[in-house]
């Protein structure tokens, strides 16, 4: 993806020449079609990062879409007002005033307003125009507005506001030449002319009530007539939010998404894992010296592969979440799920991310961006890894097959093995539930922000917007998460290959990792684990499924168990209590560097992933201890 290469899109850093236009900010309320316009104007030449110290995403790109690649466009978070009560609004104010560290001075503003709800959207115009920056007002979705019988006098509006006003359609790319013209005029006006002609009269008291009165006045004087809302959205809602049909359709959608991600994503992940590992093996074994070969193939290549195999699932999940969001169904799903989610102190918007976490916590945590309330979002991020993700399945399947007899419980369909498996799913769910309650009644106690859910009209998603989203999320994952995982993988590889014995690598048990495994044995003995399991636990800090491979290596090189298959070897070496304690440990423990990395990114601090890791590890230890004691006593 060369379009994301650093250097292609960089924020202007050199001191400004007076009057020269360099940085343009895109401002608008949520759901005004701002992101669509941003993608239209920049093409794929964009970059996503976090603002320093906050969790708000900083997104910028070159205005290549309208032949002005010399200009940088900064996309500000969607805001209703400049009241500093939300983090998004604070960031927007700081960027616009030029007081945000690492963000350049803004020279001009593109203010996007949804013309379908212009009266309400105009409330944002007042505080933005008060900033006195050169501004153009873009009435988005004006084609839809006119189609549905809406009217607005743009000339009158331009006179009222004292700035140029243009009707555009971001989805269809109509009217964008007005932006080019506006930027061209700003270029011509050297020496930084003041923004806005003198005609503008803004409310003196900057509060919601006065902005509202002002907006009502402006929209009346510009003869704004709101379009009729399409009848079919309400008709569709009668079905999709119906008393019986609503929950039914909700289940169909949820089960469908889940089924596709599992039945399509999981085999695809396995397939790409095999392909990558096979490719690595055939690529390697030709590199000299041998240690370099091992570092490159066993360390770096396999580390990179462990990241890449998540990609199919992540992209599939984001495709579905994107479809749900763009069609407008996501808001309906949140409405239906809200009553249930409230029980654990979260709101309906947390449902889809938590559901996604059953496939993989990484996209789930990235999907929490749809939750505006920061505390709810953090609580969701912190509990998501308890959901039984697909990386836990290999160790569950191995231990259950080795230790649990397949006795039928309810006919031939539901046996003891399935019951234990289901029990582990329930265990993870309960842990998430209780943790959410705990968080919401302590460090993440609900803020005063109420649950306000806007139900957008149903729309057909465009391939363009879905595609951009996939490229965007995929590259964020690869760049930011991949680098951390790679570092951890290389670190673990080095620790399992030193100290050298006469120039050759030590056996795993003699390496630093192996010694630590021995060293922690007293601590994990009460759980029914031995040092081999200890090494497995250490190695699986990168990713849960790694433990199966590690145990295979360890038991494979032990002369006592060399002749046995891994299942028998484990059966021979562990008690039932220890085996059950191990799966319970995996149900609770945070054994996943990818998740830690993505939590770090989404919360923009190491504090939260550290807290999460500590909490989940302690919980895992205690639960495993209890399991071992109980199982050893009663079975």
């Amino acid at each position: 993806m060369s379009c994301h290469a650093p250097g292609l899109v960089d924020l202007p850093a050199a001191p400004r020449i007076a009057g020269q236009l360099r940085t343009v900010a895109l401002v608008g309320p949520p759901n005004s079609g701002k992101s669509t316009l941003f993608n239209r104007l920049t093409g794929l030449r964009q970059k996503v990062a976090n603002y320093p110290g906050v969790t708000v995403e900083q997104r910028y790109g070159r205005l290549g879409g309208i032949q002005r690649p010399d200009l940088t466009l900064i996309d500000l978070p969607g805001i209703y007002s400049l009241d500093s009560y939300s983090e998004d609004a604070r960031v927007a104010v700081d960027v616009l005033r030029g007081t945000m560290p690492g963000s350049p001075q803004v020279d001009a503003v593109l203010l996007v307003l949804d013309s379908l709800h212009l009266q309400r959207q105009l409330m944002l115009a007042a505080p933005i125009l008060a900033l006195k920056l050169p501004t153009i007002v873009l009435l988005n979705m004006s084609d839809l507005m006119e189609l549905r019988g809406g009217v607005v006098d743009t000339l009158a509006l331009a006179q009222e506001l004292g700035v140029p006003v243009a009707k555009i359609s971001a989805t269809r790319g109509i009217g964008l030449e007005a932006i080019t013209r506006f930027l061209g005029q700003r270029d011509a006006l050297l020496e930084g002319a003041p923004g806005g002609a003198g005609r503008l009269e803004l409310p003196v008291v900057g509060n919601a009530r006065s902005y509202r009165q002002w907006a009502t006045g402006v929209s009346t004087r510009t003869r704004y007539k709101a379009p009729l809302s399409p009848e079919w959205t309400r008709k569709l809602d009668q079905f999709l939010l119906g008393r019986i049909t609503g929950p039914l359709m909700f289940l169909v959608v949820v089960v469908g998404v889940f089924q596709v991600v599992f039945s399509l994503g999981l085999p695809f992940s396995d397939w790409s894992q095999n392909l990558l590992n096979g490719l690595g093996d055939s690529l390697g074994r030709h590199i000299h010296p041998a240690w370099l070969d091992s570092l490159l193939i066993d360390g770096i290549w396999k580390g990179a592969a462990s990241v890449l195999i998540f990609l199919p699932q992540i992209l599939l999940l984001f495709l579905f979440i994107g479809l749900l969001e763009d069609t407008g169904y996501l808001a309906r799903a949140a409405l239906i799920a809200d009553r249930v989610m409230r029980v654990i102190g979260l709101n309906g918007k947390a449902f889809i991310p938590l559901l996604s976490a059953y496939a993989c916590a990484v996209p789930a945590i990235m999907a929490t961006r749809t939750i505006e309330n920061k505390r709810d979002r953090f609580a969701t991020i912190l509990v998501a890894p308890f959901m039984t993700c697909s990386a836990r399945l290999p160790i569950y399947l191995l231990m259950i097959a080795a230790f649990v007899p397949n006795r039928p419980l309810l006919g031939s369909f539901f046996g003891l093995q399935a019951a234990v498996m289901l029990g582990l799913y329930v265990l993870g769910f309960l842990a998430a539930l209780l943790t959410a309650r705990l968080l919401k009644s302590s460090i993440l106690k609900a803020s005063s922000a109420p649950f306000i859910l806007e139900l957008p009209q149903y729309r057909l998603p465009t391939v363009r917007s879905l595609g951009t989203r996939l490229v965007d999320r995929g590259s964020v994952f690869l760049r930011q998460v991949g680098t951390i995982i790679l570092a951890v993988t290389i670190g673990i590889w080095i620790l399992s290959h030193v100290p050298l014995h006469g120039g050759s690598f030590p056996a795993l048990a003699q390496s630093v990792v192996g010694r630590v495994g021995h060293w922690i044995e007293p601590a994990i003995r009460p759980l029914g684990f031995n040092w081999k399991i200890g090494i497995g636990l250490l190695s699986s800090i990168i990713a849960r499924e790694v433990i199966v491979g590690t145990l295979g290596t360890l038991y494979g090189s032990d002369p006592e168990t060399q002749q046995l298959a891994l299942q028998q070897a484990l059966h021979h070496d562990l008690t039932l209590g220890g085996a059950m304690a191990l799966v319970v440990f995996f149900a609770f423990a945070m054994q996943c560097a990818s998740t830690l990395a993505v939590v770090r990114r989404e919360t923009n601090s190491w504090r939260w992933p550290a807290l999460q890791f500590a909490y989940m590890s302690v919980l895992a230890y205690l639960a495993a201890l209890a399991t071992n004691l109980l199982v050893s006593r009663f079975f």
Partner: protein, 87 residues
């Protein structure tokens, strides 16, 4: 007409917002979403579980929980008056 809380508004019934009794930031946020005094609001439907309720205000549909709607006071508009133009 009598003033009642927004959550008491029956589905299909319209009302005019009278007053918001919420902490100032929440009140401002709701006003930006369209829930401001003198605005016309219609209870559109309840979620399948009975809560939250979807309200139409300012040409938008917005769902509020009962706990929030309780603090918004409205004056119901008589059903018969609906056809006779807006007052």
């Amino acid at each position: 007409m009598a003033v009642l809380a927004l959550n008491q508004l029956a589905v299909g019934q319209a009302a005019v917002i009278h007053e918001l009794q919420l902490p100032e930031p929440v009140e401002h946020h709701l006003m930006h979403m369209g829930f401001s005094p003198e605005a016309r609001v219609l209870a559109v439907r309840r979620a399948p579980a009975g809560d939250p309720t979807v309200y139409a205000v300012d040409g938008m549909e917005i769902a509020l929980r009962r706990e929030t709607a309780r603090s918004i006071l409205v004056e119901p508009v008589a059903r018969a008056a609906r056809g006779q133009g807006k007052s």
